[in-house]
Symmetry: C2
Subunit: 225 residues, 2 copies
């Protein structure tokens, strides 16, 4: 009571896993920009330098965070159909990454691929190959899927924050109508809300690419046979 903390000697020794887990949780709460070695240490009730026992530097911590998130992907069981297998793996990847909005940005900036990341890519490539894709077409297919293999796409539509007072807002809208009519009609298209179902858009684009790949694969198979 009186807010007196339990003796710190009672606290179990910090493990690398605890550090990474806390970092992921903190990033979820406050965003990746607010995650510093110092704020993380504070959260763990530890001196900043103590973290360096478990990670060589911040970059290694970020790598470990990516691994942690990618590790949450539930691998779908093997599927006879290459397309179903890849599709469900990607959607499961999407589900995992959606829980950690900062993860896509981190995956993109990592320079060294970790084993966990490579496992995911290997699994997708193996599905294509098992489906009869040539090495070359598999390679192209991986590029075509790109970051969508992680279940995210770069959001291209800006989140414009509306002006404060009503007249300024009307005026701004009028200007947009004149200069960006095609963007405005898209933004206002759906139920007037302007928001769009990101998941539906994701599946549409994914299927568009898989359709294309399937077609090319079929044609090249016919040409060979």
């Amino acid at each position: 009571m009186y807010g007196v903390r339990v003796s710190s000697s009672k606290r179990p020794r910090l493990q690398r896993h605890d550090v990474v887990e806390a970092a992921v949780a903190l990033a979820d709460e406050v965003g990746i920009d607010a995650l510093s070695m110092r704020t993380l240490a504070q959260r763990l009730d530890v001196v900043p330098m103590a973290l360096y026992k478990h990670v060589a530097n911040k970059d290694e911590l970020l790598d470990a965070m990516v691994d942690h998130v990618v590790g949450e992907i539930e691998p779908a069981g093997p599927d006879e159909n290459w397309r179903h297998g890849i599709r469900s793996r990607i959607l499961s990847s999407r589900a995992a990454l959606l829980r950690h909005p900062w993860a896509p940005g981190l995956i993109e900036t990592r320079t060294q691929a970790s084993p966990v990341v490579l496992d995911h890519m290997e699994a997708i490539a193996a599905s294509f190959r098992a489906g009869g894709f040539s090495v070359d077409l598999t390679h192209r297919a991986m590029h075509a899927i790109g970051s969508r293999m992680w279940g995210f796409t770069q959001e291209v539509f800006p989140t414009q924050q509306p002006a404060q007072d009503e007249t300024a807002r009307d005026q701004q809208f009028g200007e947009w109508m004149k200069r960006y009519p095609r963007i405005v009609e898209m933004a206002t298209e759906i139920g007037g809300g302007g928001g769009c179902d990101a998941h539906e858009e994701f599946e549409f684009a994914l299927d568009l690419i898989l359709d294309g790949l399937e077609r090319i694969h079929r044609e090249s198979a016919r040409a060979d046979g």
Copy 2:
């Protein structure tokens, strides 16, 4: 002589444009991470605070840098064919962005779209609409293209740096062969070099998407007629 500088009063007054241009050049040279308000000020032979006369803060500077790069895109003339028009605009966008490797990452992280950015998107959307695409299909098409509308794709293949000594490298390669056979065969596929033609891959994926859109568009037009 003797390294004595010309009186600083001779230096023409700094303009916003100079600041942005110098920032772009500096980022090209030393990378975006090494670009700080302080290093930029030093490059311009000016006290850091002088920059704040021309940009409100660093974020606004980054916005301006994006605008500068996007402004380098040569808009292709209007094209009868929606597909040719969009394709050439995207390839011209790619050419501009390739000169500034840091630009994609910056475009992705900007939260507010600038007029220059919106102009680019508007032009592409307008091409779809002029080609007879419905508002809804245009919307989906924009999402499907995603960041490819700027001419870049997230690089998904890791740049693994090989081990130092030869035996360690052989051993590492052996492990990879066992664990990531599909990735290894893709990496070694082309001429043994392992490098792939990024531009060819880009065009392949772009055409894959445009093919798909063209097909859907044709089918929906037939259904309507």
